[in-house]
Amino acid sequence: MDAGRFDPVMETPAQAARRRFAAHRPAVHGVGALAVLALLGFVESMLAGPSGDPVVRALDAGHTTLALALVGGTLAALVGAGWGALAVAAGGRLERRLTQAARGLAALPLALLPVLAGGLLGRGVDLLILTVAAAAVPAAALAARATLRARARREYAMAARAAGLTPAMVLWRHTIPTVAGPLLAAVWPVLARALAVESFAGAVGLGAPTPVDTWGTLIGEALAAQAPMGLLAPALLLAAALAALNAVGDGVAAAFPEERP
């Protein structure tokens, strides 16, 4: 029997998620744009243009910038997802306390955290990543908790218990795989936030340490040197990367829609 690819009845959930993502055109273009932005630096260094040119430097800084945002964002997403999962698993009063703490922290201007750390403790890549991640954690925790709350306490978990599965089996076989996709969609905006926070720190001159170029530090340099043409390339690339990340996030969210009851 042929498990037809376009038969909606026989489609596996993974196939359905891929189809929905592919149907979201901006997300597909976003993936392409991010790949180009990350790889352009390598191409540029192979072509070996004049090394002081602002456009060349901006293209070169692409993969560093994206790598910093990716590491910081992933760290924040992991911590935030753990925070949210702990809150939902605990329930009751502890859940309320954890959520209120996240809400309170999210209300602070956390984008200033890397700037503050850079000013007080000196500039360093490790410190930058940690503070960028810390700035994004509360929002990730709130998003993760909202998603887990809506999706994890489903009837199927109770039905699986009634079917004789141990709580650990229910968690590993059913709950975690089912919430993984929606959780990814929920914490995805953290990546864009990390990129923005890191760039802000760079732009005010307290981002990545001197030999390392990111779009943020290039913007900061151009501002300091009052060179509007030097501003153009990194600013446009940063805007493109943020737009692409958000578009991909929309696609991931579209891939895991709310199930019908």
């Binding site: 909606p8 009837e155 199927y156 039905a159 699986a160 009634a162 599965l165 141990t166 059913h174 089912t178």
Partner: protein, 545 residues
């Protein structure tokens, strides 16, 4: 005397979109003071038919044929009873009646007629500040205040409790008969629209026909005797409700309060109650699927609440469950076959791998599913198929007790009868004991041998099904029975919220018999006759309600 001219008439009405013909060649005639109900499955085209009758076709859908309707006096109440979110009720009534003063007067008159307490105070509220029950009453009152000659209501009061809904529908029908208006109610059979109607039409495959001859409804066999296999004693389930961060007062919600009953082998005990009565919590607590249960649940003499996790899991093959929303009880990421097999592997590990596959196929076929259904994902099943898959999973390990929590509430009448027949077939063949929680008094009395009526977590009446159907003594039970028959329940207002159950008798605020004494003391179960007990101070009052 000749019948009066129809107020609303459609001749050869056809509705079609670019892709499909939705309704073909429909003939409808509704006379003054007549109530017509139109039922049909999901997506049968009921809503579009009502819009066509009101002359409000959406874009992209065309109608043919003639509809005669009275000039300007046709009101369509759309699905969900929408109110304008940014306007107070007073403003919305004023819009309908023309002036503020008449608006307020009319509003209070209609809201009070529909039993909205303190109607005048609620006029200053916005729709989101109203409870679901009051919101529906406001939507209906708004439609009635427009003094229509023809009222077309799409699934009116759907989603409310059957008692509340049946009363509202009966009041709508009363209004139509008093004023000589024509009333058309559309909805599922489970929405109870057929109850107060004079005539019923069924929309199926685009055709509008009178309903087919009803098949003999399934009913339980004679009650078996014998010692109980399941004994529930003083079961109490509480949920802690914590205070806020800064030390609000912690409280507890008592969902089930001291319930005791026995189930014999091959017997069905029905748990009947409105939403919030505790029947679902009770059903789940019996199988220890919820924390916070105290008391005793003796299965063949062993207390399920006291035994260890491991021992309980070894006994679960005999104790199976069906849940509401059958599709949600399956993990969307695995096929139906895999999940039935997983349950069987966990419950009956002694069955070998290759035999297990045969057992799964057998269980699915037994539940009335084709063999191909094993490879389907839950999202690819209809409601009826998902319910059958749930039956297959529960019955595959050959249980001896099946606890059902409203497993059929979302199904159409045909599917529901088929699955009830299937359940009773297993009961006869295997001596299955059943605990069946439902809000449908008709189903409870048909398939239950005994019925426990629950209100606010307590049993308020308990009797053999045949006795309860004809001689119920508690006003609440009588309300549930009237709602199931499509009559007008004598219970006023909405069920009390779980945290604001009145003192004394929990039914007293809605009860036609309530007197001062009911507020002071909660009634205890008293024996009416052997096997029939009721918790009402005035159960021997004349049953005028």
């Amino acid at each position: 005397m000749s019948a009066p001219e129809p107020l609303l008439q459609a001749e050869g009405l056809a509705i079609h979109s670019a892709a499909a013909i939705i309704v073909r060649d429909a003939h409808i005639a509704v006379r003054p003071a007549e109530v017509l109900a139109i039922t049909g499955a999901d997506g049968a085209g009921k809503s579009l038919l009502l819009r066509a009758l009101a002359g409000l076709m959406p874009d992209g859908v065309r109608m043919e044929g003639g509809v005669t309707r009275p000039e300007g006096r046709v009101v369509l109440l759309p699905q969900g009873g929408p109110l304008t979110p940014h306007q107070t009720l007073a403003a919305q009534f004023a819009e309908v009646t023309g002036t503020q003063v008449t608006g307020a007067r009319e509003a209070v008159r209609w809201l009070e007629r529909l039993h909205v307490p303190q109607a005048a105070r609620r006029l200053e509220l916005y729709p989101h500040q109203l409870s679901e029950g009051v919101r529906w009453r406001a939507a209906l009152a708004l439609a009635l205040a427009a003094e229509p000659k023809v009222l077309l209501a799409d699934a009116p009061a759907a989603g409310l409790d059957p008692t509340v809904r049946a009363r509202l529908l009966a009041q709508l029908a009363e209004w139509a008969r008093e004023t000589g208006a024509a009333l058309v109610l559309a909805g599922h059979t489970r929405d109870g629209v057929a109850g107060p109607a004079d005539r019923l039409l069924v929309l199926e495959n685009g055709r509008l026909n009178p309903p087919p001859e009803a098949a003999e409804p399934v009913a339980a066999g004679p009650a078996p005797g014998g010692a109980p296999v399941l004994s529930v004693r003083d079961l109490r389930v509480t949920f802690p409700l914590g205070g806020g961060l800064f030390g609000g007062r912690a409280s507890t919600l008592v969902a089930v309060d001291g319930v005791s009953f026995d189930v014999a082998a091959g017997e069905t005990v029905a748990l009947l109650g409105e939403s919030g009565s505790g029947k679902s919590v009770l059903a789940r607590a019996i199988l220890r699927l919820l924390p916070g249960a105290t008391g005793r649940v003796l299965w063949l003499g062993r207390d399920l609440l006291a035994m260890g996790e491991e021992e309980l899991r070894h006994r679960r093959h005999a104790l199976q469950a069906l849940f509401p929303h059958p599709r949600a009880t399956f993990d969307p990421r695995h096929t139906i076959g895999a999940q039935v097999a997983e349950a069987l592997a966990a419950l009956a590990p002694e069955v070998e791998e290759d035999k297990r596959r045969a057992r799964v196929a057998e269980a699915l076929a037994d539940a009335g599913l084709p063999a191909a259904a094993a490879d389907r994902y839950p999202a690819g099943l209809t409601d009826g198929e998902a319910a059958r898959a749930g039956f297959a999973r529960a019955l595959a390990p050959a249980p001896r007790l099946l606890v059902c929590d409203e497993p059929l509430a979302t199904l159409d009448a045909t599917d529901r009868e088929e699955l009830l027949a299937h359940l009773l077939h297993h009961q006869r063949a295997d001596g299955l004991s059943i605990v069946f929680a439902t809000e449908d008094a008709d189903a409870a009395c048909r398939i239950g041998h005994r019925v426990l009526v629950l209100l606010a977590g307590r049993v308020v009446e308990e009797a053999p099904a045949g006795v309860l159907a004809h001689d119920a003594r508690h006003p609440y039970t009588r309300g549930l029975l009237a709602a199931a028959e499509g009559g007008r329940p004598a219970l006023a207002g909405d069920p009390p919220p779980a945290l604001r159950v009145p003192t004394g008798c929990p039914a007293r605020l809605r009860c036609p018999r309530a007197r001062d004494h009911c507020a002071q003391e909660a009634p205890h179960l008293e024996t009416v006759r052997p096997g029939h007990r009721v918790a009402c101070h005035y159960w021997d009052a004349a049953n005028e309600d």
